[in-house]
Symmetry: none
Subunit: 197 residues, 4 copies
């Protein structure tokens, strides 16, 4: 059954299967065979295309980060003011795609993996820095530099926090409420600014 030009399809299938499998299992303790089976191929073929289990995971992570990047880009692109752009970033972070069970599970497992894999840590860092500079750039058009930095940190922490709580706690607020809460954090700062001059 070998066919030509399968590489991109197989790679895509493996990456998707990896994310689904992590979600289903809730661990990185999943075997290459499991993933390959779900992707409809032999584990040998998975190695043929990716070289090693590590590379499979990295590819999956890259895709998740890339999809997220696109989401942010799209939402931010449609906004016109700094405040709107910040709200767009927040919304993108909680976009429904990102909030699917398996994606959140994947994020979490990647976080853990970052603790002892430099490659994974590097990838996460890229994401974190991009988010940070993105927020900071827009916040600086509203607040002074020191305040902007504070708000950026606070927003990022809140986003990550809700993300994780959503993954783990049944009584965590639902997506729309989460968006409102984070957006409201920005509003609180805007109010303080208005108050203090």
């Amino acid at each position: 059954m070998p066919k030509y030009g399968m590489e991109p399809l197989r790679r895509k299938a493996m990456i998707d299967a990896t994310i689904v499998e992590i979600g289903a299992a809730g661990t990185l303790d999943i075997t290459v065979s499991q993933i390959a089976r779900r992707a409809g191929m032999s584990s040998a073929l998975a190695h043929y295309y990716f070289g090693s289990k590590d590379q499979i995971f990295l590819a999956a992570m890259r895709q998740i980060l890339e999809v997220f990047r696109q989401e942010v880009k799209a939402q931010v692109g449609a906004a016109t003011s700094p405040t709107d752009r910040i709200r767009a970033i927040i919304n993108a972070s909680f976009a429904s795609d990102q909030f699917k069970h398996e994606i959140v599970a994947a994020w979490l497992t990647f976080y853990v993996r970052a603790l002892h894999s430099d490659e994974v840590k590097r990838l996460l860092d890229v994401y974190a820095r991009r988010l940070h500079s993105n927020l900071l750039f827009n916040l600086r058009q509203i607040f002074d530099d020191v305040t902007a930095e504070k708000v950026a940190q606070g927003l990022a922490a809140m986003i990550d926090g809700f993300y994780i709580r959503h993954a783990l706690q049944d009584f965590a607020p639902a997506r729309p409420d989460v968006c409102l809460l984070v957006t409201d954090y920005l509003d609180l700062w805007l109010e303080r600014k208005a108050l203090n001059g």
Copy 2:
């Protein structure tokens, strides 16, 4: 050379070793033998006392949660007003003991484990609910119920968010700054309340 009354000491040694080992390895992918070696005993004995690897991890987690509970209790007990008590909870969450590398690593790994272990999930839930009701109880003495709930959610998310960022990002703010940022979130709400009457 077996001795009497060793059980509690052995268990304690294993639990401590588990936490240290998780911190050192940055994964839950550590073997019972590794832990046992660090605790100065054979892996067979570890099984004798705990029954299974799962139970070892659960015991370690219970200890971490218990230590945290004590920390909160102590700090909150010393406070006299609702606002102070909330600040005490925040401070306790970022107490230096909790912020040590290995503890944060352990937390993270437990989060992941919660994704597919009901037992772990239950334990985490207990912690989360306690924190939540603790915050809520004090916030309700300041804000109306709806607002209190919002602030509680926001605070909890921020705490978790900073916690994780601290574990993973080199450029995350340091402990004192983190405390200030979270406390400031409470202040923002107090200011809004003062403004709106």
Copy 3:
């Protein structure tokens, strides 16, 4: 881009690549893919031409033996007396081509392979018998039959012995010295014969 009449070239390329690869790796533990890559083709094509890995090795071995046969033939052909012909055989055995690292490695690995491959054993046997009868034929013109047999055995053993030592030991004598030592063995017998009448 398939071409006509490629078969002999491809086969030759594979055989040469096999010998080089064995020399480079120092084992028979080399993969068909490695050889094929070095020969500039796909492993699938290698199978197409040779059928199996075993056949590839056998072909390589046949070539080595054939080259050696030619070498002996050429050198012996130029000699005119029995003594000279024997010396020619010795020289041919240590001809510089035969003494290259990869060839010696290949010989050694073939020896081992002979232990459990009848086909390989048969090939080695052909070589050994030819060498033996070659020596014996000439020795019989100098010595009585019993002595000739002894000298033939001794010479063959010495040749093989130096061959192997050359492959494995840093302090083994160099090629010219080896030739002298083996030739000298013949001289020792000639001297004894002269002495005893």
Copy 4:
């Protein structure tokens, strides 16, 4: 079925099984499982005791070399003159134990392994150097230094050569004849010396 104090027995069993298995298979391409099965244990236990396949092979090789060393020591110890001691070394090299099929197979495979394993090469080197200095020491009491070196090289080569031929060729001379042939090489040199004064 675990019992105490099994380590030495298990190690011995594995080493013996390794040699037997190499002999039976005629390759180093034997699996740890095969060896372990022949030694009556699980492959996991084999790793428990040796750590890796490589270590198993090295241990087997060390034993073969050690047995050979003992053999030489015993035979040489009983001799009284330099000539006798050299003859003893020759005899030891072809001692019946050393000439068993599986031992010869093991030697050969080790030779090959030496081509790409420094550890194996080192072990073989130790053996070769010991044999060489052993021969040289005694030969120097008979011949001048230059001649002694030549004879030592010639003897060593002959020994190795017959060894290998014995392993591979059906028509190679039998053990007693081999001994005589090699010893005779020494005699040829003694005769030449007597002749030349």
